[in-house]
């Protein structure tokens, strides 16, 4: 036990004192915040751009149907030829010209209208124009059928389905998706952690082999102790780094928001709320958002975080012991490729299955299968768990089965990895095949 602590301490310090580790620890939050700022800046650039569209209307229709909005404003030409209108639109640097010719009926006018622009027009702009035409045509048709203009403006009512669970609780649309997304974030965190710090474990094993210190150490401690110490020491260093990242990045973001007054997110929410208010005759959207928030608060965060820790620990230990075994089997990092792929595969599978299947149907057969399979369960189960355990959520037996399977696999894999590790660390000079690894298990 004392020796294990010594090894953990050494591995931790060796990692934490490493120059590139220190640089990455403090540079990454800056990069992250820089990226957020850049995106915010680009979005605001896009938003502040106003496109000016000129209209040459020779018909008797479309008097006031094009109303300027935040992104598009209109300018009317009167009594000039089409070619003159094109020329002046181009020379003034405006976005494009809408030409509405003189024809007998609205239908023929619509058919003969054109939009001219410098290059392929933006889909949103075209959409706005098309919508104006469609509405005009619809209105005319309905007026023909005897619907008054007053009546027409009352038609556009919207409808939304109310949903409720059997037990009478109000269900919120999309809440399962939001919950899966929260779980997905946890799962993604686990995957990133495994890939980054599993790689660290592997490199540190290879370093011990290439520096030939391994036999000196192994004559004082058991290989298993050394492997475990390495994995734990490295993961502590990883947790330190992650913690620094999260704390410093959120502090930096806070500072940036306060100083630069960047409130992109808020703008976005405000805008959305406004549109929701405008279009929806349903209960006021603020109330709706409140409902979502209470629903999210209802997630048992304590349990979720406990399970996150359990799945994180087991998942990380399984994968990093495989990484350690690979490091022991090879002589240098370039030889690791053929062994790394089979490790990354289940992780990727878990993430993709999660995003494509669990989001849609968190308790369907695919989601259940992958949340029981030990190599994917840490990620997939976490995506399912925010919907709770028991009724309406993940059945208790599935949670227990997946953890039991994970523990059994953990013991099995760590033992196999330790065997490969024990033999591998003392083998120099050749790149082993899978067949040889299998033989080592029997030494």
């Amino acid at each position: 036990m004392h020796k294990l602590l010594l090894i953990i301490k050494r591995e931790y310090l060796a990692k934490v004192r490493n120059k590139s580790f220190i640089i990455m620890t403090f540079l990454s939050p800056l990069l992250m915040v820089g990226m957020v700022l850049l995106i915010a800046y680009l979005v605001s650039l896009n938003e502040s751009e106003t496109r000016v569209i000129t209209i040459l209307n020779e018909s008797q229709f479309f008097e006031n149907d094009f109303k300027s909005t935040k992104g598009v404003s209109y300018l009317n030409f009167k009594n000039i030829s089409l070619s003159a209108a094109k020329d002046s639109t181009a020379s003034l640097g405006y976005y494009g010209l809408l030409y509405i010719p003189k024809e007998k009926s609205l239908k023929t006018v619509s058919k003969a209208s054109y939009f001219y622009s410098k290059d392929g027009p933006n889909a949103e702009v075209i959409g706005t124009l098309e919508k104006a035409f469609q509405e005009k045509l619809l209105q005319e048709k309905l007026i023909d059928l005897g619907v008054s203009e007053q009546q027409f403006s009352e038609i556009g009512s919207r409808f939304e389905m109310h949903t409720e669970s059997f037990s009478g609780e109000q269900n919120l649309k999309g809440i399962t998706m939001i919950k899966a997304f929260i779980g997905g974030a946890f799962g993604y965190l686990i995957m990133m952690f495994i890939i980054i710090y599993g790689g660290f474990v592997m490199r540190s094993v290879i370093e011990e082999k290439t520096s030939r210190i391994i036999e000196v150490i192994i004559s004082s401690v058991k290989p298993f102790q050394l492997m475990l110490g390495k994995i734990l020491g490295t993961s502590l260093a990883g947790i330190t780094q992650f913690a620094i990242w999260i704390v410093s990045a959120s502090l930096l973001l806070l500072v940036v928001f306060l100083v630069f007054d960047v409130n992109v997110g808020m703008d976005y929410v405000d805008a959305n709320m406004e549109t929701m208010k405008n279009v929806s005759p349903l209960p006021a959207s603020e109330e709706m958002i409140q409902l979502y928030i209470t629903e999210l608060l209802k997630i048992n965060w304590g349990t979720l975080i406990c399970f996150f820790i359990v799945y994180f620990m087991l998942g990380y230990l399984i994968y990093s012991s495989i990484y350690a075994a690979i490091g022991a089997a090879v002589d240098n990092e370039t030889d690791t490729q053929q062994f790394i792929l089979p490790i990354i595969m289940p992780l990727m599978l878990a993430i993709y299955v999660g995003f494509f299947s669990v989001f849609d149907n968190p308790h369907g057969p695919i989601a259940v299968g992958f949340s029981l399979f030990p190599l994917t369960s840490p990620i997939v189960m976490l995506m399912r768990l925010p919907s709770g355990i028991g009724e309406g959520g993940v059945p208790l037996w599935q949670v227990i089965t997946s953890i039991v399977l994970l523990i059994v696999t953990f013991i099995g894999i760590v033992r196999l990895a330790a065997k490969i590790y024990r033999v591998g660390i003392l083998m120099y000079g050749k790149k082993p095949s899978y067949k040889e690894l299998y033989k080592w298990l029997k030494y």
Binding site: K3, L6, I7, R10, A14, N18, E207, E208, S211, R212, I213, E215, V216, I217, I218, S219, S220, V221, K222, P223, L426, Y428, K439, K442, Y443
Partner: protein, 311 residues
């Protein structure tokens, strides 16, 4: 003779390959024991078994009479042939770490390290990183780490590789000193001249089997063939030579005209040199008379050749 370590019928297999086949050894206390053998014979496997890095399939190892157990690690010091240090770590810190892994307390380790660093005159290396050291310097550190916890049994695998002659000599003196102080030493090497100088006992391992072991002086005795080298001062060399050739088994002879000396090697019958001496004393003056004693290298090669011929 009391023993520090006994190996009883140790067998170890790696898949199809047998690395050690029924090897038994007795390593006496307070002596230097040479473990010899060609590359791939199984020496390193045996040493690793003694260090509990791997375990025998059959047979057992006894340390001071007890079956080998994990706690014995603290009583063994091992300098492997493939040795190294953490490159990015400072020398002092690294020595402390390795010493603590052997079970020393931090304060003890510091004290003893100071003693050894002063002794080998490397006190100012404490805060340097290993990657700044030369290979020989790193070897000195490794030697210190091996002996620091004052183990009863020391195992050196090719200890002199990487040392210049001066430093090799310093290390050799230190090894002898450790023996004086009561340590038992297993010494594995290809360099026969150092075996000749240091070892009191040897064992020869070839193709996974022990083919020879015992006290070096006894082994040498048993390998003697009663061949002698002789130099005679005589004016009448041709005649003496002819008579000798007729009466005894002369293996080779040459005559040096300037010195008027006859050199020859002779195989004398066992327990019967009297006749020869009475004869030769009457014929010439004996300038030199030496028995040909086989070197370890000769024994090594001869034993292995015999083994190969018999197989």
């Amino acid at each position: 003779m009391s023993t520090i370590l006994v190996a009883k019928e140790v067998t170890k297999q790696f898949g199809e390959h047998t690395a050690l086949n029924n090897v038994s050894l007795e390593i006496p206390k307070n002596s230097i024991y040479g473990l010899l053998g060609p590359n791939g014979a199984g020496k390193t496997t045996l040493i690793r078994i003694i260090n509990q890095i791997t375990y025998p399939d059959k047979g057992a190892i006894f340390f001071e009479g007890e079956p080998l157990q994990p706690h014995h690690i603290a009583k063994i010091g091992y300098l492997p042939e493939e040795r190294g240090l953490y490159k990015g770590m400072k020398v002092g810190e690294q020595c402390l770490y390795l010493a603590q892994l052997k079970g020393l307390s931090k304060t003890d380790a510091k004290q003893r390290l100071k003693y050894w660093f002063d002794k080998l005159d490397i006190g100012d290396w404490w805060n340097r990183k290993v990657q700044e050291l030369s290979k020989g310097m790193a070897q000195k550190i490794q030697f210190i780490v091996t002996v620091l916890h004052q183990p009863k049994l020391l195992i050196f695998d090719e200890p002199f590789s990487g040392f210049d002659p001066i430093n090799a000599n310093i290390i050799k003196e230190e090894i002898l000193l450790l023996k004086e102080e009561g340590a038992s030493i297993i010494f594995s090497t290809h360099r026969m001249e150092s075996v000749e100088e240091l070892c009191e006992h040897i064992a020869l391992i070839h193709k996974s089997e022990k083919i020879l072991d015992g006290k070096l002086s006894d082994i040498k005795k048993s390998f003697k063939k009663n061949i002698f080298e002789m130099t005679l001062g005589t004016d009448n060399a041709d005649f003496v030579n002819q008579e000798l050739q007729a009466k005894f088994q002369i293996l080779s002879s040459s005559y040096c005209t300037i010195e008027k000396e006859l050199n020859f090697t002779i195989l004398l019958p066992q327990n019967d040199s009297g006749e020869f001496f009475t004869y030769i004393a009457s014929k010439a003056r004996i300038n030199r008379f030496v028995e040909q004693i086989p070197t370890v290298s000769d024994i090594f090669i001869q034993t292995i050749e015999n083994k190969n011929n018999n197989a």
